[in-house]
């Protein structure tokens, strides 16, 4: 489902003396449907960078990244947008939303984007929010004023609203209490059970052991010059 081949990444900082930083070389990995793979390595090893390249958020300098057959490295903006709508979900560590939009709409949005009707989308969003212990009194409020842990859970609910065949999870259990951590891990297990290919970054070793089938240490792809 997700296949990374010979991928390298370099940042060129034009306004800082044209410094170039090689952060990754020859990265390769493969994730099958129903499998969850953890990216590991010390801070700066390129875990988030690789994840962002798979999502098309960072440009790879070379190599190929195939998600459901589409090479993200060479795909057009339009192809990547369509891939993100239907196939590839991403739960980042940050919640980015239009201010003043109610939480329920924020979570339902990925479903509306693929043409699901409003009631069905809201029902699914409400179900996820309940599961993640976001009290119903908050659903009509914008999540911009919520606590860090609540925002994290809104982000997760949004990422799981549509059943993406491929999922990228950046620290999904960070800043969660044990109860909600367990809910998130069960959501991940459910997604695996329905055949989703998942790549995750987990600093929490127990969580990693619980849901991940394999680990890939990115330090072997690092160039040693990363900041």
């Amino acid at each position: 489902m997700i296949e990374v081949k010979a991928v390298s990444k370099r940042f060129t900082l034009h306004n800082q003396g044209g410094a170039t930083i090689d952060v990754m070389q020859n990265a390769a990995l493969c994730v099958a449907p129903g499998e969850c793979v953890a990216l590991t390595g010390p801070s700066g090893a390129g875990k988030s960078t690789l994840m962002r390249m798979i999502y098309g958020n960072y440009l790879a300098a070379s190599g190929a990244i195939r998600v459901d057959g589409l090479d993200v490295v060479t795909a057009t903006a339009r192809e990547i947008l369509s891939l993100r709508r239907t196939t590839l979900g991403y739960v980042s560590q940050f919640l980015r939303v239009v201010p003043r939009v109610p939480t329920l709409d924020v979570v339902a949005e990925p479903l509306l984007a693929i043409g699901r009707d409003r009631d069905a989308a809201h029902e699914k969003a409400g179900k996820l929010l309940t599961q993640l212990n976001i009290p119903e009194t908050l659903w009509a409020l914008s999540p911009t004023t919520f606590s860090g842990g609540e925002q994290q859970r809104i982000n997760i609910a949004r990422g799981f609203a549509h059943e993406y065949p491929a999922l990228l999870l950046d620290e999904p259990t960070a800043s969660l209490d044990p109860v909600n951590r367990a809910v998130v891990l069960s959501l991940i297990s459910d997604a695996k059970a329905r055949g989703a290919a998942i790549i995750g970054i987990f600093h929490d070793a127990d969580a990693r052991a619980e849901v991940c089938d394999r680990e890939i240490d990115l330090s072997s792809f690092a160039t040693g010059k990363a900041a």
Partner: protein
């Protein structure tokens, strides 16, 4: 997939416009597909408004083609069209939201009249229907329908901007050009307008070209981004990719210059 067979709604090829020796914009080309929103950013004088005016028929480019997929005859170059044909397209298929609402509204005609006028321009004649549609659109842009007979000159800036949007969208255009749609508005009003625009784009399947210098606005509204400097396109790509991993020196400068709130 069949998506490659979809005709772009707008194909821009090598568009160039100079003012005497001064280059407005040069060698601009891109395809915009149905349902897509493209942002154009750059500092003042970068040529973004000149480009928008060339695309929307307000200015005639010196060179290049602006091909629009018309309902009746398929793709046609709007630069080579006759003026009446282009005006008809502007009334039926395009909308233009100006930065200053007063440029896009008739300030001495009632709010309902402003919306109704666009309908009459495309042939609506039944007063009751026009009034109903105007009322419906005022509700959609969250203007109190009790104000339907008031002139926009009595409205606040944010209300005027929302009225301008209602006036533009009432005829069901397929392509919306926006020049700094949230410029000069309070941030609280901006947020509401952004949400309104996003909902309209999604529900009506609109395509839009949005010119702005506000990177936060394009991040939330635009799927794709084009960065201009001195009349040239310096970078294009997915909005989040251009903002998070900018390649060109100028884009890096632009992104790193934004103040963090």
């Amino acid at each position: 997939m069949t998506q490659d067979e979809v005709t772009p709604l707008l194909s821009v090829r090598n568009v160039q416009k100079s003012y005497g020796a001064i280059v407005g914009c040069t060698k601009v080309g891109f395809d915009l597909y149905p349902g897509e929103v493209m942002g154009i950013v750059g500092e003042s004088g970068s040529g973004k408004t000149t480009l928008l005016n060339c695309l929307s028929g307000h200015l005639t480019p010196d060179q290049g083609q602006v091909i629009f997929d018309t309902r009746a005859d398929g793709p046609r170059d709007t630069v080579a069209m006759s003026e009446p044909e282009r005006r008809m397209l502007a009334r039926t298929d395009w909308a233009f939201v100006h930065q200053h609402a007063r440029d896009g509204l008739r300030m001495n005609v009632s709010a309902g009249g402003n919306v109704g006028e666009r309908l009459m321009a495309v042939g609506a004649r039944h007063y009751g229907d026009i009034r109903d549609k105007a009322t419906d659109w005022l509700e959609r842009v969250e203007i109190d329908t009790a104000r339907i007979d008031d002139r926009p000159s009595t409205f606040s800036g944010g209300m005027q901007q929302r009225l301008q949007i209602a006036r533009n969208l009432v005829t069901g255009p397929r392509l919306v050009f926006m020049d700094e749609p949230t410029g000069g508005l309070d941030v609280s009003v901006q947020a509401r307008l952004l949400d309104l625009l996003r909902g309209l784009v999604r529900d009506m399947g609109l395509s839009a070209v949005i010119v702005t210098h506000d990177l936060a606005v394009v991040r939330l509204l635009a799927d794709r981004l084009m960065v201009m400097k001195d009349g040239n396109v310096v970078e294009t790509g997915l909005t989040d990719q251009v903002l998070d991993d900018p390649q060109a020196a100028y884009t890096q400068l632009l992104v790193s210059s934004v103040l963090q709130v």
